[in-house]
Symmetry: C2
Subunit: 378 residues, 2 copies
């Protein structure tokens, strides 16, 4: 039966990261528990919500863990409750000791708390992913690709495939991530330094957001593995599994065209703030839109929501070229697109009032492109 | 029709303070608006939820306001919406101009936003409180009295009078604030430096909490006025009205007794943390309690919630005297009582397992006393 002592702060950190995979309201009650497996040289914490699973390993060799394992074993404990208890303990370290019938006694300072656990035989087995030939990615780069694309995926389950981000590797080095909810699209390209086996997967955008929260920036690289239905992101101590979405992702390449009639370059922040003002008024009307009027030497934004009021604003323009144009769209899409752009300026290309317009960062027109579909108005 | 220009940051600050009296979900729709009255030498903002009302005055003489009044008048605007709009504007200042039919045009930088307002004739009249012979209180002292008592008032409307804090002045200088929900009680006494007219009122604890949020610590003193059904707290620029609760407040003096059999002094924070651990386990059971066992040279806390687990903990004791005793109570009441005590230590007096016990700060046994009723267990 389990017995170990550990640094409390480090234990809380590992529990909290693992808990990101655990939902306290899961339809399968056993998935609200955390699995604690104590091996001779490490402890592995496991959490899962059926979609994503996280395994977090604390090795005896980690000096900050102050981990002393006296006896091995495994038990399930109610995740939220257990973390609250551990967080409340008084001392810098704690002792964890299993007594009869999956009961666990936690001792820290003068406090002794006894908790009821469950048998691990009830816990589902995580699907396995073969860990051969990893694709190695820089963690920060992967997280920035996620931040640039995942928001554009659909939130609605009417077309489940669109709730994912389509990630492909072709020619062994051309990495592409693309997401669309059919109103807007975001695509990021990178060229890998090292070649790897080609792949084509659709990853739930929710899983990718969780990945970004779990893999902190101090984790320099992450290994990526695939099976037919699952994917594994792995660092030294964390394994993050997510199921993949099944089905064919629509062909997004045909949406991107190089033609344009009108080009405008804006300061990214200034345009975003103007759109946030526009949104406050447009949002008062169902499907409210903002109208952009592009004339020679003047670009202005206009909203009219008869019940509450209107906005008229001349936008700060860095440069503009091409034909005059009037185009209407949902300002939310432009606000979210601008949030994803780190560059000081943004270049927008328009073709016609009824064709999607494209956004690229002012300092990078090749590798990051977004597209927003206008709204037809009369 | 209204026309003025003003510093945006200062305007937002005054609007936000006034909005504390405004509920966006008020049953009376007009109370979701803010009243803006522009006079020759100041602007007054008014908000009310029917229970409390706040008037906030921005005088032309306030240099930080950059207030330039061109034309006077009054209008009602949807409070939350208006504050969001003002917060979104781009420039350091803004111009506010009323055009036809209560329409307001806000101009800031290159942005121009038009909003629909309402006629002030629909706005209810705030009850008046005569402003003669003020009681003058130090704001920080009044806020600390509120923090020490208001939490002990009842949250339930079954006995409305207990949702208030009973505040009295007797002998022209003995100020007393007391609150009880019938399970616990908190009483704070002060002696005023200057004599004032005696009073006896019950103020809703919710109003007092709002008062503490609205009157920032830089407001040194506050003037207090009473009418039969209302009360006014006033500083240079803010008038805060609250209705009073009607009815007789129970006699709480009879609950306080000087007798005790057992005395224990604890470190306030250490006892609070022990009770927070106890609460985590006791809370798993309905009406869960913690049991305190006081023996010679040892005080321990025990919780047993059969479904989830148990706690056994030896408490850190500064000193103890008197008979042995075992007493059970809801740890929430002790946690909240300890949160209200600033002193490093707390002295607790017990009389018997079925009689309320009292808490006083280690450094002040006279002016601040709290009382908690135990739970009978077998």
């Amino acid at each position: 039966m389990i017995q170990f002592s550990i640094n409390r702060a480090l234990f809380i950190q590992a529990l909290t990261a693992t808990k990101r995979a655990i939902s306290s309201k899961n339809a399968i009650p056993i998935l609200s528990t955390i699995k604690i497996e104590v091996n001779p040289s490490d402890i592995t914490l496991t959490g899962s919500n059926g979609q994503i699973s996280i395994e977090n390993t604390i090795p005896v060799s980690n000096e900050n863990a102050g981990l002393l394992i006296t006896s091995t074993g495994a038990v399930l404990l109610e995740a939220s409750f257990f973390i609250n208890i551990i967080s409340s303990l008084p001392d810098v370290s704690l002792e964890f000791k299993e007594i009869e019938q999956h009961q666990v006694v936690l001792t820290s300072g003068k406090s002794e708390i006894t908790l009821k656990g469950k048998d691990i035989s009830q816990y589902p087995r995580l699907q396995e992913v073969s860990t051969e030939n990893p694709l190695i990615l820089n963690t920060r780069l992967l997280k920035s690709i996620i931040a640039e694309t995942a928001f554009a995926a659909s939130m609605q389950e009417s077309r489940p495939i669109l709730t994912g981000v389509h990630i492909t590797l072709s020619q062994h080095k051309d990495f592409k991530a693309v997401a669309t909810d059919s109103h807007r699209m975001s695509q990021r390209l990178i060229t890998l330094d090292k070649t790897s086996a080609d792949f084509d997967v659709v990853i739930p955008s929710k899983s990718l957001r969780e990945f970004s929260a779990v893999f902190t920036d101090d984790i320099e690289t992450v290994e990526v593995f695939f099976s037919a239905s699952q994917m594994l992101f792995r660092s030294d101590y964390i394994s993050f599994y997510t199921r993949l979405l099944e089905g064919n992702y629509p062909d997004t390449d045909r949406l991107l065209m190089k033609d344009f009639e009108t080009e405008a370059v804006f300061n990214t922040q200034s345009l975003r703030h103007a759109m946030e003002r526009a949104f406050l008024i447009s949002n008062a009307t169902q499907n409210g839109t903002v109208k952009l009027e592009i004339e020679a030497n003047r670009i202005s934004a206009h909203v009219n929501s008869p019940e509450v009021g209107k906005v008229n604003e001349d936008l700060d323009v860095v440069s503009q070229a091409g034909s005059d144009l009037t185009i209407s769209f949902n300002p939310t899409y432009l606000i979210e697109a601008l949030k994803a752009i780190k560059s000081e300026t943004v270049k927008i290309h328009f073709l016609s009032p009824v064709r999607p317009f494209t956004l690229t960062p002012g300092d990078d027109e090749e590798s990051f492109i977004q597209l927003i579909t206008p709204v037809r108005t009369n």
